[in-house]
Each structure stands twice: as C-alpha cells, then as structure tokens.
Symmetry: C2
Subunit: 221 residues, 2 copies
C-alpha cells in the first residue's frame, strides 16, 4: 500500500519536460525499474504488442532529430530516449505465428484454452470493430496498448523523481524509412507509435492545467 | 519519492480481476483519488480528449451486460464501473470550438501562443499521420490518449490495494445505440473507447506471465 498523497504528488510532479540536464544520467537500476513497469503493463488479451528501442547512440539521436520535430530539446539532452514500436497486422492477426507463440510459450496455455481464447480473439478482430478493415485499424489498436506502457513508465519515473516527455510529433514516412535503414526494424512487423524521453529537469515546471473533475466525469446512479 | 519495490509490488498485484466481491464498496475518498489520477493524466497537446461515465445504476449495468461480453463477471460485481469515452473529429478537429476552449479557458494561453500552438496542431493533423483521413483515424488517435488515463487509474488503484479489470470486448454498434438512448451521449462528439471496472478481488490472481525484458527491448548504444 502506498500513500495516496504521495501518489498524487508524483502525478503533479510529472510534466512534459522539454529540456533535460544533459549532464545527469539515470542510474542503470532506476532505468531498469522504469522498463520493468512497461514490461508488467497490461495489454489486450495479454499479447504485449510492443517493442522499446532505447536510443543512446549520439549519431542515431542526430538522425532522429531531423525527423522528430517534437523532440528537439529532449533528443540532445535526455539521459535515455525510447522509441516505442507497436505490432502490425502481420503479427497481430488472429492467425499469426506471434499470437500462437504468445499463448503457447508465454501464457503457457493448454491446447484447449488456446483454441477457445484464439476463437474469442478471432471474433474480436472480425467484430464490428473491424480491426481487419485496414492495416491502420489494426496498428492503431496495437498502438493504444503501447500507451498503457507509456503511461506506466512516465508515472513510475515521476514517483522516483525522474522527469519525462512523451513525443508524438514526427514525420511518419521519413521515420519509417529511418527505422528500416538505421534501426533494422521490419516495417511489416512494427511501426513507430510514439516516443518518450527520460532525464532530469533543468527548468521549473509550469503550472499544471486541467479541466475540473466535474467537466470530465458523469455519474449514473 | 516512493520506494521502487513498493511500486513494482503494485504492478504485480494488478491483474485483470474478472469477478469482484459484490459486497465490498470502494470508499468515496479512494474512488475520488482514482479519478484524480485520470484527470491529471497527460494527453497529446494537453487536449484531454476524454470523458468518464461512472455507471452505478443497476438497470444501466444490466443493459451494458447485454452488449459488453468482456464484462460479464465484473458488471454485476464491480464496486465502480467506468465507461471511457474519447472525443471524435467534430470536437478534436483543429478548427473546433472545443480545441479553442481548451487553449483559451483551460490552458490560459495568450492569443499569440494560441495562434502558434493551434498552427502546430493543424500541421500535426494534416501531416502524413493523416488524422483527417477518416473519422476512425481521429477517433483512434483520441482513444490512444484515453489509454494513458486508463493505465494510470489501474496502476494507482493497485497501489492502494484496489483491483481492476480493463474491458475492450463489446458489440460496438449496439454500444453506440445504448450510449445515445440510455446515457444521452452525442455520438458525433464522443465514442466508447474502453471500460474499466474497480472493486475487490474474491479469487486469488493467477501467475503473471510476460515476455522477458530482453524480448521487448533493444539497445542502441
């Protein structure tokens, strides 16, 4: 059990930190902890449709900087910079080898349960969600799951006094090419969903602005 | 600062809890805390494209149960049940009144900054992400943001010993009709993105299964 006030404190401490102290590195223990909260994150059907590229190489960061307009201040200063990938139709389709692998080798399900759960997954994908209607529909659905891991990493980092900045702003087509050419990523299997930089702030954070709670909730008693 | 071990403990405590103790209610203080972590969650451009319907009414839960096949055990037993909505193109388009309202009245930006940031937002939506290509593209993008709030609520709940279950399994078209007919939701403005139930477990959780860390990360030194 963790004290509620301490948790809310961390939520208030977290902000989109646009520049980090380039001289301060996150310890390997702390960074492993952050990654562990991504690994333990839930995902639809438990299929973990994600991969995390940790970009520490200066040349690669320079190349990213040319296409990631949303990370101009963080790419050069972040202690750690993660490109988050989501799985595409090729591996997320109900008939894919990856899905079979997850149920068999990771979830350790019996053949009976694999058949049943796989059947549900097929129905889910074929249902009126139409996940099979396009590569984009499936990829966006995979991407949603990665935002769970993204959130957990940022929240957990804040809880141990580490700053972060999520990044969605990049030129998608150039990014795709960069992923193939420089990172060896198979674009049929994975696509970039977002990025997140970690480090320690140099500037004071601005006042947090949010809608009031009553503007975003509605009770049905 | 919160102890890393305690945080990881909470991540291990969290699991998709399929049935709750129907007799145990989350205190109003604890539930407000969970909602507050949703409210303080980050979102793209800070536009908070979400709404949270808290469904406590038994009749409404019965009606949901007919279309939400993924919440058969949780709808009747959850202490609190939230339907998460995401905003659609009508209100998330760069020219919308809602976006203007957010920058003006919530972010309290000056006219100059609104012009600049609004310009970035327009470029972002028109870029090769093609958020404007379809209602679905925009809605899926909005929905991604709601998964950040979803993650934060589940994680924070686990940190104070409260169980949760995220839900994606429902018949989308019937759900849309239910939202209009029974919840008074304007389907041009909002759509259902997912749901999450909260309460206290009755059964022991199963062993957590995940890929190993090296299967999901790749370092670029």
């Amino acid at each position: 059990m963790i004290d509620k006030n301490k948790i809310i404190e961390a939520f208030n401490y977290r902000h989109a930190c646009k520049v980090f102290d380039a001289g301060k590195k996150i310890s390997s223990e702390d960074f492993s902890f952050i990654l562990e909260t991504a690994r333990l994150s839930p995902s639809s059907f438990g299929f973990e449709p994600w991969k995390f590229l940790i970009v520490q190489n200066a040349d690669l960061r320079e190349k990213l900087k040319l296409v990631v307009w949303g990370a101009q201040g963080t790419l050069p200063t972040a202690s750690h910079f993660i490109v988050i990938l989501a799985r595409k139709q090729k591996t997320m389709h109900y008939s894919s080898q990856y899905i079979k692998h997850m149920m068999q080798d990771v979830h350790h399900l019996s053949d009976d349960v694999i058949k049943k759960r796989g059947g549900f997954y097929k129905i889910f994908q074929e249902s009126d969600f139409n996940l099979l209607e396009s590569e984009r529909a499936m990829f966006d659905w995979s991407s949603k799951q990665t935002y769970i891991a993204l959130a957990n990493m940022m929240t957990s980092a804040a809880m141990i006094g580490i700053d972060s900045c999520p990044v969605e702003g990049y030129r998608a087509k150039e990014m795709e090419k960069l992923m193939t050419d420089e990172f060896g990523i198979n674009n049929n299997e994975f696509g970039v969903t977002c990025m997140v930089a970690f480090g320690y702030r140099v500037d004071e954070q601005k006042n947090k602005t949010r809608q009031e709670i009553d503007e975003i909730i509605q009770w049905f008693h």
